[in-house]
């Protein structure tokens, strides 16, 4: 085809010009087919370019709409950021292109990140992800999570990095709030005075310290136990309530039960229960309050009320009887009989007024309304008067008053001091039924007076001594036949002595009598 003839110079020149024109056309991308001797090859450049553009556009749409920030870093320089990354970092795109994630890291994070970056210079050790605080352009702080991938590019595998950034500030704050709230509740539960247990599938899954204290078992020993495993007749009731509650039935949240402690004692507890989700499954939380003491106190109060009403009723019976006899039978009674009846009524009235007086003192203490009317008094007179009042009630006791010759004036409420002495002397009489000496002694010490009342009676054992001054304590077994009283005397003494700033105690041995001693401060109250 090229022919055998040599082309002329003009032809060569024309062919060269054509070739140049073709190359220029190719460069302009205006060629769409090349014709060779055998066929025609289509050059679909535009199509290829279009596909390329479309694919780029496709990825750009993804990149711009993705919820994560995307940054491409090449050789330490940001070469691409998407809108979301700009939003997260709080910079305009052109500003952020001049920065990297490291530049915007919060000051306190920089040292940590610098170390990571130094490590990262070694090939293959770049972290896959990092979480750190950043400071945005407006100064606000956000917590971000970065995931890093290497974009491999031929023989330079570490030249490009894709950073995917997620703003996890809210998650971080929620986690913190959750942790704080959990810490708060666990502190509450751990420091609660009530026992707290969580029961799931009938098995104890959680117990706090208070629960361990109440039961005597350690927390570890409680865990894994069945809720029926309480060692008392309450087990069935507990199980039945548990089933009802887990079945969603409405039952009263509060009930009382008995549990056996590790040492075998039975404790009465008040339980309030509620349904909860524990480790994402239904469970029951129980608040367990030890009401053993409260129950005992309730019992004591009941007994006390019964006793007091009895103590009030018996003198009244005597008084009413005596007075009525004198009124109706007066004409037929000798003057001596009449006198004896009225004397009985007078003694019982004294006893009644004494009991009522003690009750009133106690109720004043309880209502916090015990006011002392302190004045300077001569102790000697008060002691002697009170001893006289008691002496006439008993003929079998010898009363000895042992006072120093010189005693300073004491600053006390005279009526209250008389009540203390009267109670102690009355006790001394009651608890030495075979008579003997009752001695009142006063000793002057540096800052106070010590006043003692000793008898030669039945005495008190040390365990009983400890209980003597408690509320509503009567030592039934040491109470001799026929001894009356509401068990109030010593409690009233203690309250009144303490109100004066002193203290009261007992020294005694069973069978050898007792000494009750109390102090009165010498200083002006």
């Amino acid at each position: 085809m090229m022919g055998s003839k040599k082309p002329t110079y003009e032809e060569l020149e024309r062919q060269l010009a054509d070739a140049e024109a073709i190359i220029a056309t190719l460069r302009r991308g205006e060629v769409d087919a090349i014709i060779s001797k055998r066929n025609v090859a289509l050059l679909r450049v535009a199509e290829l370019e279009k596909a390329l553009v479309e694919s780029e556009a496709h990825y750009r749409v993804i990149a711009e709409n993705i919820q994560d920030g995307l940054t491409v870093i090449e050789g330490g320089k940001t070469v691409y950021v998407n809108d979301r990354a700009c939003q997260i970092f709080g910079y305009a795109r052109n500003e952020f292109m001049k920065l990297t994630g490291f530049d915007v890291a919060a000051l306190e994070e920089k040292e940590r990140l610098r170390l990571v970056r130094e490590e990262a210079i070694k090939p293959g050790v770049y972290p896959e992800e990092l979480q750190y605080w950043i400071v945005r352009r407006d100064g606000t702080k956000r917590y971000i999570h970065n995931r890093y991938s290497i974009i491999e590019k031929g023989d330079k595998p570490f030249s490009s990095r894709l950073v995917v950034t997620t703003d996890i500030t809210e998650r971080k704050q929620a986690e913190k709030a959750l942790r704080e709230s959990e810490a708060k509740y666990s502190t509450l539960v751990e420091h609660a005075k009530d026992g707290v247990v969580i029961v799931q599938d009938g098995i104890c899954k959680f117990a706090n310290k208070a629960m361990a204290e109440i039961s005597g078992y350690t927390v570890e020993e409680i865990l894994g136990r069945h809720l029926m495993d309480v060692g008392t007749e309450s087990a069935d009731a507990i199980a039945q309530r548990y089933r009802s509650r887990m079945a969603g039935k409405e039952i009263s949240p509060l009930y009382e039960a008995k549990i056996q402690c590790k040492d075998g004692t039975i404790k009465e507890v008040e339980v309030s229960a509620a349904s909860i989700q524990y480790q994402e499954r239904p469970a029951l939380i129980g608040f367990v309050r030890d009401i053993t003491e409260r129950k005992k106190l309730d019992q004591l109060k009941d007994d006390f009320i019964g006793l007091v009403s009895h103590e009030l009723r018996s003198p009244l019976t005597v008084i009413t009887g005596a007075v009525n006899t004198v009124l109706t039978e007066g004409a037929r009674l000798s003057s001596q009989e009449t006198r004896q009846l009225l004397q009985d009524a007078a003694w019982e009235t004294e006893s009644l007024s004494h009991l009522v007086g003690n009750l009133m003192e106690l109720s004043r203490v309880q209502a916090d309304r015990l006011f002392l009317h302190a004045q300077p008094i001569t102790l000697k007179n008060v002691v002697q008067n009170t001893v006289e009042r008691v002496r006439c009630q008993s003929s079998i006791h010898q009363f000895v008053v042992d006072l120093p010759n010189e005693l300073p004036l004491v600053y006390v409420d005279q009526l209250r001091l008389e009540r203390i002495l009267y109670n102690l002397l009355e006790n001394a009489v009651k608890y030495s039924p075979r008579g003997g000496e009752i001695r009142v002694s006063v000793k002057l010490e540096e800052e106070h007076l010590v006043i003692g009342i000793s008898d030669q009676g039945i005495g008190i054992s040390p365990p009983d001594q400890a209980k003597l001054f408690g509320p509503f304590q009567r030592l039934e077994d040491r109470r001799p036949e026929g001894v009356k009283g509401a068990g109030l005397g010593l409690l009233v003494c203690r309250r009144l002595v303490e109100a004066h700033g002193g203290k009261i105690w007992v020294e005694s041995e069973p069978g050898r009598g007792s000494s009750f001693l109390f102090t009165l401060p010498l200083s002006t109250p």
């Binding site: 085809m1 090229m2 022919g3 003839k5 062919q15 054509d18 024109a21 073709i22 220029a24 056309t25 190719l26 302009r28 991308g29 205006e30 060629v31 769409d32 087919a33 090349i34 014709i35 001797k37 066929n39 025609v40 289509l42 679909r44 535009a46 199509e47």
Partner: protein, 108 residues
């Protein structure tokens, strides 16, 4: 001179009859070819008022003619007559260049 040249000469002789002949080599509906044909039609309407003839060769159907005319790429426009022959490559979007190559003044 080869055979294709002779054939061109033959067509060239028609130019002596004062006939204005344009031959466009193109490849089917490929974008540049399509554009070239449209551009040529526009040029014809605007600048080529005198009587003329236009041949269109689709190289996908007949590439032998292209070879005979020494056409190596499409689109390619050849002014066959009047002589001297002139060739324009590309999609003919540069109107001035095309007019110059076809020796048209643009004011006809």
């Amino acid at each position: 001179m080869n055979r294709s040249d002779r054939k061109a000469k033959t067509k060239g002789r028609e130019a002596l009859d004062e006939t204005y002949i344009l031959r466009l080599f193109m490849a089917d509906n490929e974008p540049n070819s399509k554009q070239a044909r449209e551009n040529l039609e526009r040029l014809q309407e605007t600048y080529l008022k005198r009587p003329h003839k236009k041949e269109i060769v689709d190289v996908l159907e007949d590439f032998q003619t292209a070879l005979e005319n020494n056409v190596l790429v499409t689109p390619c426009l050849i002014l066959v007559s009047p002589l001297p022959k002139a060739t324009v490559f590309g999609n003919l979007s540069d109107t001035e260049r095309v007019l110059a190559a076809l020796r048209l003044t643009g004011v006809e």
